[in-house]
Amino acid sequence: CTSLVAEDPDGNLIHARNLDFGLFMGWDIKNQSWVITELLKPLVVNVDFRRNNSTVFQSTNFAGYVGMLTGVRPYMFTLTMNERFSLDGGYIGILEWILGKRDGVWMSFLTRSVLENATSYAEAKKLLSDTKLLAPAYFILGGNQSGEACIITRSRTHNLNPLELDVQHGRWYVLETNYDHWKMPLFLDDRRTPAMKCMNQTTQANVSIKTVYDVLSTKPVLNKLTTYTTLMEVSKGKLESYIRACPNPCMPW
């Protein structure tokens, strides 16, 4: 996955993501594609969650999955999550859960609860930073004011090295793939470098939904695992998603 939040010269925040999933879960030699990834694509839906006949939040989901991976609370905040790998992983959380130690929260139920109940960027950020999880994760959160965006790197119990937008010092976007931002990504899977190269080439003056979509369409940020691309603008309360494909030659991940 690749998630990013960028601030345009007017202080508007653009949140976008590629959802990549299905690694090592069956390769279709004939079609040069991942089996699970291709089966996930027809399940992608945009959902408008309403209460008392008005929108509470909107998301891009896989039908049948009640948790949230990508969502906007219109005019308040935007949220995406990327997978984080750690030896202290989800299987330990599940083991604890089965043994009756249930003080942790399932990742996608936390993101769903945040989108459904939090009413500000600050509240969402606190919940995502402090709630004990069953599995590690990256939460990429955008607010509705200039400067409000961060990458929350979570272990099961801690929030590690939060990274904030810092436009005054030249950090006009934050970008997360699937590696801790203070470490180099695995050289075999470096989607961060090409994505940052293209964002820097775009420059803040030209950043928009269109140019962010261009970045997420550039290989290997776009790869054989990419199921969908979502673009969100909190100030317009807008979410749009597109099913993706990666024509050969294309990285398998």
């Binding site: 839906v45 209460r51 989800g90 599995a135 269109k210 998603s241 993706r244």
Partner: protein
């Protein structure tokens, strides 16, 4: 030339929006979930539309499980143990998951597996 050797890094793309061409496989359909409904009824419209696709997806995960454990024990575990887990999941998600199983006809354990896949996949 870079794009013909791994990692097939392209020059930064431009003019890709509005989405079109070989990297665009279609727009995404919008649905409404009414949070005023009973949790078990919220996803019925979506699942009615996407029932076959969900069945195909779950079948592929079962095939994968059978490849790992040809005896079928893993699949049996999913269908026997995971339903016992659903009521340990927080409300309303447990009820929504039951509603999805009822609306799709997919066994409850397999819908639970689909919904906790993130934690399981870290294995």
């Amino acid at each position: 030339s870079m794009q013909y050797v791994p990692p097939f890094t392209e020059d930064c793309r431009t003019g890709m929006y509005p989405p079109n061409g070989p990297t665009f496989k279609g727009a995404v359909t919008w649905y409404t979930v009414d949070l005023d409904l009973l949790p078990s009824k919220r996803w019925t419209e979506i699942i009615t539309d996407k029932k076959n696709e969900l069945i195909n997806m779950v079948q592929a995960i079962k095939d994968l499980a059978d490849e790992f454990v040809p005896s079928g024990r893993l699949e049996e575990l999913i269908d026997k143990a995971l339903p016992l887990m659903v009521d340990t999941l927080p409300y309303p998600f447990n009820e929504e998951i039951k509603g999805i199983a009822a609306a799709s006809g997919v066994p409850l354990g397999e819908v639970v597996l689909f919904n906790i896949f993130y934690e399981i996949f870290t294995v």
